[in-house]
């Protein structure tokens, strides 16, 4: 089981990298700022005093910069989200290869990639929801990215609903591949169009971002991609086993 070993190694390294990113996010990454907190009097604290333009009128207390802890979700949320996007595209590429070659293996690959993408999209949704709750105090906000991922999740669920409703194997594979391609074209359009409508989702990834922030992000991203590939490999191994079972059963039954 060479593949299974590959999968385990990938997931293990991915796990280490994402854990490293997690720790770095708290210990080495620069804490980003999110507004100010005003206290009645000056206190002895590590929190820096806010710039002058945020200070209340004299005699009404002093404003401190508020560290933005919920931003730490970013080191996980964004890698997961980007990985989900990438895996969806990979699934669509396999779908196109299936359509042009009609070989069943590409259908399986496309399906497993779609399943991995669905796992990632669901996780993006969950972390996104927790982020909105932490930052804005609400559980759900119809804002562009959350909405896009919601739509992506619906499309991926629709993909599996479509598969389940067709008996004939080749037709199922073809329709699923066509839908995967349509979904992969549609996802970026949704993403773009939800952004055109004004919204308040933060753009955390700014060009001037400190390298101390960039490093854990990149490490987290690489780790997440490895986990994604590990999940994909593990599922493919499972599917191959399943095929062997089917072939053996058929051979036994005549």
């Amino acid at each position: 089981m060479k593949q299974l070993r590959t999968a385990i190694v990938l997931v293990a390294i991915g796990g280490l990298l994402t854990t490293a990113a997690f720790l770095m996010a708290f210990f080495t990454a620069e804490v980003q700022q999110f507004g100010t907190v005003t206290l009645e009097q000056e206190v002895d604290t590590v929190f820096p005093v806010a710039p002058d333009q945020f200070q209340p009128p004299a005699g009404e207390g002093i404003a401190y910069v508020r560290p933005w802890f919920s931003q730490k979700i970013f080191y996980f949320h964004v890698p997961v989200a980007e990985a989900s996007f990438l895996v969806l595209i990979i699934s669509a590429v396999f779908a196109i290869r299936f359509l042009t070659s009609k070989r069943a293996e590409f259908d399986t690959k496309s399906r497993i990639a779609m399943e991995t993408a669905l796992v990632f999209v669901v996780l993006t949704m969950i972390t996104g929801v927790l982020w909105t709750r932490a930052s804005w105090g609400v559980w759900w906000e119809w804002e562009p990215r959350l909405t896009t991922y919601f739509i992506m999740m619906l499309m991926m669920i629709a993909y599996f609903v479509l598969r389940n409703s067709i008996e004939e194997e080749e037709r199922r594979a073809t329709y699923a591949a066509v839908f995967a391609v349509v979904a992969a074209i549609n996802a970026p359009i949704s993403f773009m169009i939800t952004r055109v409508i004004p919204s308040n989702h933060p753009v955390v990834f700014q060009p001037g971002m400190a390298s101390s922030n960039l490093l854990p992000f990149i490490i987290g991203q690489i780790g997440m991609l490895m986990i994604g590939y590990g999940i994909y490999t593990a599922r493919m191994t499972e599917e191959r086993l399943r095929e062997r079972v089917e072939i053996a059963k058929e051979a036994l039954e005549g």
Binding site: I157, L162, T174, V178, V181, V182, V196
Partner: protein, 233 residues
Amino acid sequence: MSSWRQFKAILKKDIVMELRTKEMLTSMGLYALLVLVVYYITLSQAGADFEVRRIAAGLLWLVFIFTSLLGLNRSLVHEKDQGCLEALLISPTDRPVIFFGKAVGNLIFLLIVEALIVPLFFFIFLARPGAQAGGPVWMLALALILGSIGIAGVGTLLATMSVNTKGKDFILAVLFIPIMFPLLLAVVAGSAAVLQADPEYVRTFWQMMGLAAGYDVIMLLAAFGLYEFVLGA
């Protein structure tokens, strides 16, 4: 041009059949009217000072998205029922001709239903004394046409798949609505801009129409390219 002749034949056949049975138009039209009744129930609780105009665009598109599901399904079931699609596939008809024949037919029926429902919707919900006037009608018509093109094009592709599945209507809705999401967002925003006619609405409108047109072009190309595979399966 033989393709042109085949295209006309497919379109003419759909129209003759529809004029004879009036199946699609009555079912779609009636369904739309029923939705209007449900809207009345919904809005009756909103209070007298509620501005229906603010949500009118969304309500309008809601009717069309669901009635179009009904029509798309019907239009492909006709082809599927007696195996006629197979007869077309075995004939020397290019696959894109079949796609455009069906899609244009669906577009025509959808536009007819829209032409009936929009004035009705306007008189029931929007024509109140003292209500502010919206933008010009042709702008709304443009939004309706751009939206309907996308619905008919992508819908024809998805409906051709869903007629071959168990539980066709449900599958079509599940596939269709998420795929339609960007287009709906654009045309609802565009129609809302026209209906509310806030200052600067013309700019928003054109921006949204640009997005809708872009979606139509991309998705029609995709549907056009993928239709052959769907027919081949």
